[in-house]
């Protein structure tokens, strides 16, 4: 049985900064809530084609599709990995901030 389609957005890493970015309506965006959502396979295919352009133009690297659920139309990833990636940071304070946290 073919896997049922899940709503998706397209993720990648920014070439220069390496940080996670998502394909938005007319640019790559850092906030996943601004990402363009594909609601069916045809839309996903169209987004994938646009995302590939970003790779070819050397704006981003490593494009792939991320399964999302929608709350009030806003996408949020389904898996823990992609949630962490979409939050664009570690789940815990790190570096100098962590030191203060530990000392507290």
């Amino acid at each position: 049985m073919a896997k049922a389609f899940t709503t998706t957005v397209f993720a990648a890493n920014d070439l220069i900064g390496g940080d996670s970015v998502y394909l938005g309506a007319d640019a790559w965006v850092r906030d996943i809530s601004m990402a363009e959502v594909a609601g069916d396979p045809a839309e996903a295919e169209a987004l994938a084609a646009r995302a590939a352009l970003g790779e070819r133009a050397n704006i981003v690297v490593g494009v792939y599709a991320v399964d999302v659920s929608l709350a009030d139309g806003t996408p949020w990833p389904v898996t823990r990995r992609e949630q962490i990636k979409a939050s664009r940071s570690t789940t815990i304070p790190v570096g100098p901030a962590a030191r203060l946290d530990v000392a507290a």
Binding site: L15, I16, A57, R81, T91, I92, R99, D101
Partner: protein
């Protein structure tokens, strides 16, 4: 300490210039990612979950104050003010920008450091005993051998594109502090019956998906034969090793499939055939290297120090730290200090730029300007006089580096896991932090005694969970983190691989699970002197399994 010669220095500079050009071409689009990726990996640059990551080589974990200060500067100037010391005795920067990396590499080169061969299918940083050159139980300084191997393996044309990465460790002491049996090739420096010094050679150890402990390849190898023998061992692996399947490409699989006897036969045949003299390191070169590792000129000291004795009596925190975090030194009146990078609730192995500077300064003043990175993600100040120990302790305490927990339940090894790593299936760091907080009470830690907890965020096992007394492996179960527990692993001379307890546990459950295991151990141990590992080896898995899975009555 070892210093690069002219050739090394010129080579590293040329390599940075070459990479600068490659980055430029990548940014302007004349190199595609497919073309660029192998080039950046050869220079230690990965692309992780949130950012690029630069892994910097610290050969056999030895680093000078000057180099440590440069790491601090890099952390501040081009990263987010901290770095992460790894289980391969290296350091990783987690947030560099691609366009800054050539500048970072230039800064590293200015203190004889680089990121070459920290990635890719080559011979990686040869690791060693963090107490090398210090430990009273050692035959000779193992770093001389490490450096001979580093020079031989750097850019070795035949071994630059192996089937998989290749890791070597060297130990020369009675106590194995280098986890030798978990390496592709492990070398113990030993003395034979005739009193000659040579190598006991192990092969085929490794962690990852199919953990195996290394087997003995040669009981005694004369010292002069080291490189020809390694060359023969690598060549047989390179000829037969599988390149079609990443998971079967490590030498451990080859040794397992051929059988150690057959692999040995082929290596010995190759060894007999090759021109040993052409490959062996010239004796003058070995003595030149050895001269760099001559013990530093430490002033002669009395065996006891009155001020030190007084501080031990008046400051119980200091006494606890001395008991747990310092080691015997070969020289009278000195100790080696382990600086724990595992404060309660902290990120294992992380140090801020400020902490790196404190370490550099303390090393300069009190440890012949030398530091070591341990594979347990701590730092060693190898040569501290008893008379300076209290000052070092106070200096460390001021920077939050005084945790008296070396080898205890909160001295946890954890890989970066899903907070950073693109390959991760689960988080490691917050799990370590939660366990560390749970066991924060120092009296309780002392009561529990030696216990190593090691956590990996995926099957690649960078957190060495297979050889943790308690190992924790985070996996992905339909998008949710789940943690498998293993017991009875050990990385020392009597190494063993952990055995799985049973079904995994949810993220939130892990600290409670560890607590139940520890409580069961405390009930079971025959005396306070019996460690967790000894108890486990005596009673086996069953009582621990019960503690985890029997429904409470």
């Amino acid at each position: 300490m070892y210093r690069y010669d002219e050739f090394d220095a010129r080579f590293v500079k040329a390599r940075v210039a070459e990479f600068r050009d490659q980055v430029e071409r990548r940014l302007t689009g004349s190199l595609t990612e497919d073309e660029f990726k192998p080039l950046r990996l050869m220079n230690g640059l990965y692309l992780q979950l949130h950012a690029y990551m630069l892994r910097v080589a610290i050969p056999y974990g030895t680093i000078s104050s000057r180099q440590m200060r440069m790491l601090a500067e890099i952390a501040e100037r081009w990263d987010r003010g901290y770095g992460h010391f790894t289980t391969r005795q290296n350091i990783q920067f987690n947030w560099p920008k691609l366009r800054d990396v050539p500048d970072i590499l230039d800064a590293l080169a200015s203190v004889e450091m680089h990121a070459i061969q920290t990635s890719g299918n080559c011979i990686r940083n040869t690791t060693s005993d963090p107490l090398a050159g210090v430990a009273p139980d050692e035959i000779e300084d193992p770093r001389v051998t490490c450096e001979v191997i580093r020079q031989w393996s750097s850019l070795h044309p035949e071994f630059t594109f192996l089937g998989r990465k290749f890791k070597i460790a060297v130990s020369a002491a009675e106590e194995d502090r280098a986890a030798v049996a978990t390496h592709d090739i492990g070398l113990y420096i030993v003395r034979n019956d005739a009193g000659e010094v040579g190598y006991r050679v192990l092969v085929g150890g490794g962690q990852g998906r199919t953990p195996m402990l290394a087997r003995e390849l040669r009981a005694f190898l004369p010292k002069a034969d080291l490189l020809p023998y390694l060359e023969a061992a690598l060549r047989i692996y390179n000829l037969h090793g599988r390149r079609d399947n990443k998971f079967k490409a490590r030498i451990k699989i080859l040794v397992h499939e051929l059988g150690i006897e057959e692999y040995r036969r082929q290596v010995e045949a190759e060894f007999a055939r090759i021109d040993r003299d052409a490959i062996a390191a010239p004796a003058e070169e070995v003595s030149r290297i050895a001269a760099y590792f001559a013990p530093p000129d430490l002033p002669v000291r009395p065996a006891e120090d009155a001020a030190f004795e007084r501080a031990l009596k008046t400051d119980p925190a200091f006494a606890a730290w001395v008991a747990q975090n310092t080691h015997d030194h070969r020289a009278q009146g000195y100790r080696a200090v382990t600086v724990s990078l595992k404060p309660v609730g902290g990120v294992p192995g992380d140090a801020t730029a400020e902490q790196m500077r404190v370490l550099a300064d303390l090393a300069e003043r009190h440890s012949a300007s030398e530091l070591r990175v341990t594979h347990e993600q701590n730092i060693v100040l190898p040569h501290v006089a008893l008379a300076g120990l209290y000052k070092v302790f106070r200096g460390l305490a001021g920077a939050g580096l005084d945790a008296p927990n070396r080898g205890l339940v909160t001295d946890i090894i954890a890989c970066p896991g899903l907070d950073y790593c693109a390959l991760a299936t689960a988080r490691s760091i917050p799990v370590a932090q939660a366990i560390s907080r749970r066991f924060a009470d120092p009296r309780r830690q002392a009561e529990i005694g030696p216990l190593s907890i090691k956590i990996s965020g995926c099957i690649n096992a960078c957190g060495h969970h297979h050889v943790g007394h308690i190992g924790i492996l985070g996996i992905d179960k339909a998008g949710v983190e789940s943690y498998q527990i293993t017991l009875g692993g050990h990385a020392g001379a009597d190494a063993s691989l952990g055995e799985r307890t049973g079904p995994g546990f949810a993220y939130e459950e892990v600290p409670g699970v560890i607590e139940r295991l520890v409580e069961r151990y405390l009930e079971l141990r025959s005396s306070r002197r019996e460690t967790f590992l000894q108890t486990y080896r005596r009673v086996g898995m069953e009582p621990f399994r019960e503690a985890l899975y029997e429904p409470a009555l």
